[in-house]
């Protein structure tokens, strides 16, 4: 599968490190992976669970506009497509424009056969831009612990601290 060449103003999915904030989900469905794949990718079905596209093809390197079911407008670039197995894309808010990829995140949807049918796994990771990754991560190594966990722990301490001073 092809991947776009990284550039200074474009987040590279390969640069999304294990320490970056993420949102992970899992769902069990009774259908086969091929049936679930059709649900995931058929344009009419896609419009009902994810959002309506402006017609771009689900092929690596293709990009276009997506209006989420809740009305959120995003620009989306397809990174990898493995029919029946996995799909990965990068998306970012449509405003101010498709060339401004600040706030981009990378989504990976994986299908695995399970005893009951199919296990759907979704991971969305916040993608910092390459120059930022280079400046904060260069030579320091990344933690295998998720930063979001740390954020939650620190945020709970923050709450304790706020209550303590009142």
């Amino acid at each position: 599968m092809s991947m776009n060449e990284p550039s200074p103003d474009r987040p590279d999915p390969a640069l999304v490190a294990p320490g970056d904030p993420s949102s992970s989900h899992r769902l069990e469905l009774e259908s086969t992976p091929d049936e679930v794949w059709d649900l995931l990718t058929d344009p009419d079905e896609l419009a009902r669970w994810l959002g309506r596209t402006d017609g771009f093809a689900l092929e690596p390197g293709e990009e276009g506009h997506l209006t989420d079911v809740d009305g959120t407008e995003r620009h989306l670039r397809v990174d990898e497509v493995h029919p029946g197995r996995s799909l990965r894309w990068t998306w970012w808010p449509a405003a101010p424009g498709p060339d401004d990829e600040s706030g981009a995140s990378v989504v990976e949807v994986t299908l695995q056969p399970s005893p009951g049918g199919t296990e759907v796994r979704v991971v969305e990771r916040y993608a910092r831009h390459a120059p930022i990754v280079a400046s904060v991560g260069g030579g320091l190594g990344w933690s295998t612990r998720f930063v979001d966990l740390e954020l939650r722990v620190l945020a709970s301490r923050s709450l304790v601290a706020r209550f303590a001073v009142r």
């Binding site: 490190a17 320490g19 970056d20 904030p21 993420s22 949102s23 989900h25 769902l27 469905l29 009774e30 259908s31 049936e35 679930v36 649900l39 995931l40 079905e45 009902r48 669970w49 994810l50 989420d68 079911v69 809740d70 009305g71 959120t72 407008e73 995003r74 998306w91 970012w92 808010p93 449509a94 405003a95 600040s102 706030g103 995140s105 759907v120 979704v122 969305e124 916040y126 910092r128 930022i132 990754v133 400046s135 904060v136 991560g137 320091l140 990344w142 933690s143 612990r145 930063v147 979001d148 740390e150 954020l151 939650r152 620190l154 945020a155 301490r157 923050s158 601290a161």
Partner: protein, 114 residues
């Protein structure tokens, strides 16, 4: 038009600052012992005073610490309210995916019922 959950430049800096385990340790030490000086932090952690200063600068740029001059000393305190913007991205993204996967499960059930 709804705006997508989008980290602000500040949240981006927070994510970057906390991506490094040394800085997370440093911030934890500041939360627990503030106000604290860079020299005191260096005595607590297995890194040099220079390294502490470098990491404190990153935390300062992200708005996660504040410096206060007390006599000849510079003391550091944590500003954990800066984490709110960063945690908001995670909470909004979690909620959006719960909705999407609920809709996907509903579509699957509809198709199986046909």
């Amino acid at each position: 038009v709804t705006r997508a959950a989008q980290p602000t430049p500040r949240a981006d800096a927070v994510f970057g600052a906390l991506a490094d385990p040394t800085r997370r340790n440093l911030l934890r030490a500041i939360v627990d012992q503030a106000p604290i000086t860079a020299t005191q932090l260096a005595a607590e952690l297995p890194i040099s005073r220079q390294a502490v200063a470098k990491h404190l600068n990153v935390l300062d740029d992200a708005g996660l610490v504040v410096k206060r001059r007390v006599g000849r000393e510079t003391r550091f305190e944590a500003r954990l309210d800066r984490l709110d913007e960063a945690t908001r991205w995670i909470e909004q993204t979690d909620a959006a995916w719960r909705g999407r996967l609920d809709r996907l499960a509903q579509l699957d059930a509809e198709r199986r019922a046909r």
